[in-house]
Subunit: 480 residues, 2 copies
């Protein structure tokens, strides 16, 4: 877990926030939000909100704010290894890898994702201390049956990693399975209600609609006190207007309406203000990532979430590139650096994202770990005091001298600067002699070596057996 020591970079004036405030109020009160689950609609009706056309809820904006005020500003998320438990909110930043990709890229090969890839990527996430979580659907294991693959995924997350993990959200039943497996691993329902054992991504079916499956999963988690990340899914030009301010107010309206539901169902349940905001490339019609618009969106979202007193999710190492080239790198950093400037509390897609999120890529995973390491170094405290001025080094070296052999340097050379994992400063001759490999080729060697040295974190045999029994039984019940 990383504490961001630099100031937040805020670009919205008070006047701008007032305009946005009027905007989301108008959306929720005049247009309303659709909830395609009768149970959710009833919760709002019972709380006095207006229901139209069966599932459209029109809100009193102040009612939403009253509900939102019940959500905690920060909360803990437990790992089975207590050293890996995290705190979400404040200056903390928690990082999880890519999520939801049907495809894999490994070197020059692009193919369907398999369970073996899922397991390998979880092992990589476990291996790098820069990642706080293996996430959830780190790829979609297409070789496992659709109805029961969530069991395989949660089992892999629980056993191959000892960091906090994300739950399945494809249905209420899958959420219930995730919760049951958390109860086994963490010692029962009371234990996970006291210290949440999973965090789950609830996407809004933007614009202005929550679908029944996501709502079903959300209610399941919230009743168990497990945090959810309520995330409007906004590609401007497709799910929202081609205007960043319009998209920001839509994001507020959708996220706050969902968060209000969580607090009506279980006041005080931990919840995260989510953002997934980029734009459509109006020439190709495809999604763009790592754009100037998405960078500004991240900065604004951070400021907005703090305005409402909520921990927030946003950013990551997003890009639209088809391969691990210069574009993949600059687009990723174009989102990732603003993620740090804005101080996102929960960061999905921190490693491995390629091709607009269709691909989990092994080499990109390593490139992103390098970015994450560099950014964590950059946003660390900068200590400026008398000792840091190293006056004695100047006295020693003098005008026109060289500091490489100075006592001050020799005492500090191992720790004084960031040490790269992937980047090379070899001079051209040496680099050529060593094979002239570019960063992507070197990344290939690093992920393979990391998997080779991976050690599975220990787990009590009885617990493992109980989890296996659960998975076997439920898989049979689901007909797979």
């Amino acid at each position: 877990m990383f504490v961001n020591a630099l100031p937040r970079y805020e670009i919205l004036s008070e006047e701008a926030i007032d305009v946005l405030d009027r905007g989301w109020r108008r959306i929720v009160s005049e247009l309303g939000i659709e909830f395609l689950l009768p149970e959710a609609v009833e919760v709002f009706r019972a709380a006095g909100q207006t229901v139209e056309d069966e599932n459209r809820v029109r809100f009193d904006p102040d009612f939403i704010l009253d509900c939102v005020a019940k959500a905690p500003r920060e909360f803990d998320l437990a790992a089975r290894n207590p050293e890996h438990s995290v705190h979400i909110g404040g200056d903390q930043m928690v990082f999880a890898p890519v999520y939801g990709c049907p495809f894999i890229r490994e070197g020059a090969v692009r193919r369907d994702a398999k369970m073996a890839d899922f397991e390998n990527l979880v092992r990589l996430a476990q291996s790098f201390p820069e990642l706080d979580s293996p996430g959830g659907t780190i790829c979609e294991p297409e070789d496992r049956p659709l109805d029961s693959r969530h069991l395989d995924m949660v089992f892999a997350l629980q056993t191959l990693s000892d960091k906090p993990y994300m739950g399945s959200v494809t249905s209420a039943g899958n959420a219930a399975d995730t919760i049951a497996m958390g109860e086994i691993l963490f010692g029962g329902r009371e234990a996970i209600e006291a210290a949440p054992a999973s965090i789950s991504l609830i996407n809004v079916n933007s614009p202005l609609r929550f679908d029944d499956r996501m709502l079903g999963a959300m209610l399941e988690y919230v009743r168990a006190g497990q945090p959810v990340v309520v995330t409007p899914f906004l590609l401007m030009g497709a799910m929202s207007p081609v205007s960043l301010p319009a998209t920001l107010v839509q994001q507020i309206a959708e996220a706050l309406a969902g968060i209000a539901l969580t607090q009506l169902v279980r006041p005080g349940c931990p919840v995260v203000f989510g953002s997934f905001l980029s734009n459509t490339d109006m020439q190709s019609g495809s999604p763009s990532f790592g754009t100037p618009e998405s960078a500004i969106g991240v900065l604004c979202t951070g400021q907005i979430a703090r305005h409402f007193g909520l921990p927030w999710r946003g950013g990551g190492a997003l890009n639209a590139s088809q391969t691990v080239d210069a574009q993949a790198a600059y687009e990723s950093l174009m989102t990732f650096l603003p993620t740090f400037l804005a101080g996102a509390n929960f960061v999905m897609h921190s490693a491995g994202w390629l091709e607009g999120g269709l691909v989990s890529c092994y080499e990109k995973f390593i490139v992103d770990i390098e970015l994450l390491r560099e950014l964590r170094h950059m946003f660390a405290p900068l200590e400026i005091d008398e000792a840091s001025l190293a006056f004695s080094a100047h006295e020693e070296v003098g005008a026109g001298g060289h500091f490489l052999g100075a006592v001050h340097t020799l005492e500090r050379f191992r720790e004084c600067f960031y040490r790269p994992l992937l980047s090379s400063t070899e001079n051209f001759d040496r680099w050529s002699r060593n094979g002239g490999r570019d960063a992507t080729e070197r990344a290939g060697e690093i992920w393979r070596a990391t998997l080779e040295s991976y050690e599975q974190p220990p787990l009590d045999d009885a617990l493992r057996a109980e989890l296996e029994e659960f998975v076997t039984r439920r898989r049979a019940e689901l007909g797979d």
Copy 2:
């Protein structure tokens, strides 16, 4: 010329600035700075400063500040096409390409730079409106004689581009030639003294030393009222201690001492607080670029230059990579985005820099133009008002709808988002069918097409003939 509309990102506390302030005062007063040109030493002696060991000047720090206060906070730099004249200081950012590289990379080929490359790179700088200047030594034309190659370079800068250019600094004589050619192009000495016609890079021979050649060139320019960029050359661990605060105080001491000299020689002469600050890779012993340390250095330098009321130079698209790969891209943006956050007024190395500055690379030039375009878009004003909320688009589309065909979208789709020059959002199938070219391959096509469509800016025949005569005469005088 670009006006940076977002706020500056400042990370130094007042206490930190006080510590740095005490630090540079101690360096200039207790250690002093060496000036290896007797004429410069005499200027300081005559002004009452202490001279030791022939060329070491120990300063009263308040005397330095008194001199520095005479420098303008902002100034104009003329282009022969008045539409391309720029203003340096305030919220303005002026961009020039890479400078000083002995080698060229073109695709997979790395070779000595030639005059033809110099000319091509100037043509590229002229072609892209994102660059305000073709810079100066955009590469070192190794096929031209060392003693007269500055004439060829200045002639190419003056005739292939109509943007402001940088002067030669390798000696007082070369500076005098640059000034003389500026007088020809801009209509005489009075004209260029009234509206400076070149800007020149004066590097400090750090630590704590100005050499005779740079000082000779600097005095030549300053006497003619031509702006100089006084730039400590600081790779931490080599030219400065392995401590960022120590390096920042050294940078202040060196830059302010040089700037004091300019103001003693010609009070009010435009001058820029320069920064070239990165670190040595302590494992390879080679310079690193695009590091967390250099990013923080850029942020701090901006704040420091504003503290002293000076326009400043720093940042760029720096990297240590040997090829145009992911590393080249992320390291470049790791410096370039902070360059914008810090609001650098004059940005060298904005396009084409590769391999720690040894290589001017055609493909990297295009990658950097894309970064520059994106960053200019990101740091543009964000207008948030009632109209930008596009409420009518929400009314039109409704819950669960799609905005691609909305009236609001159709009215704006051409201009609503950043349009990439290089980045691709093609889906995988289309991208594969189109050749599966990565960003670097696509960049190769872009620079070639740009050169093909290049048009030389018009120049009066008599002026051109006069410049040619000057070059021919001086070349002969220099024995080449």
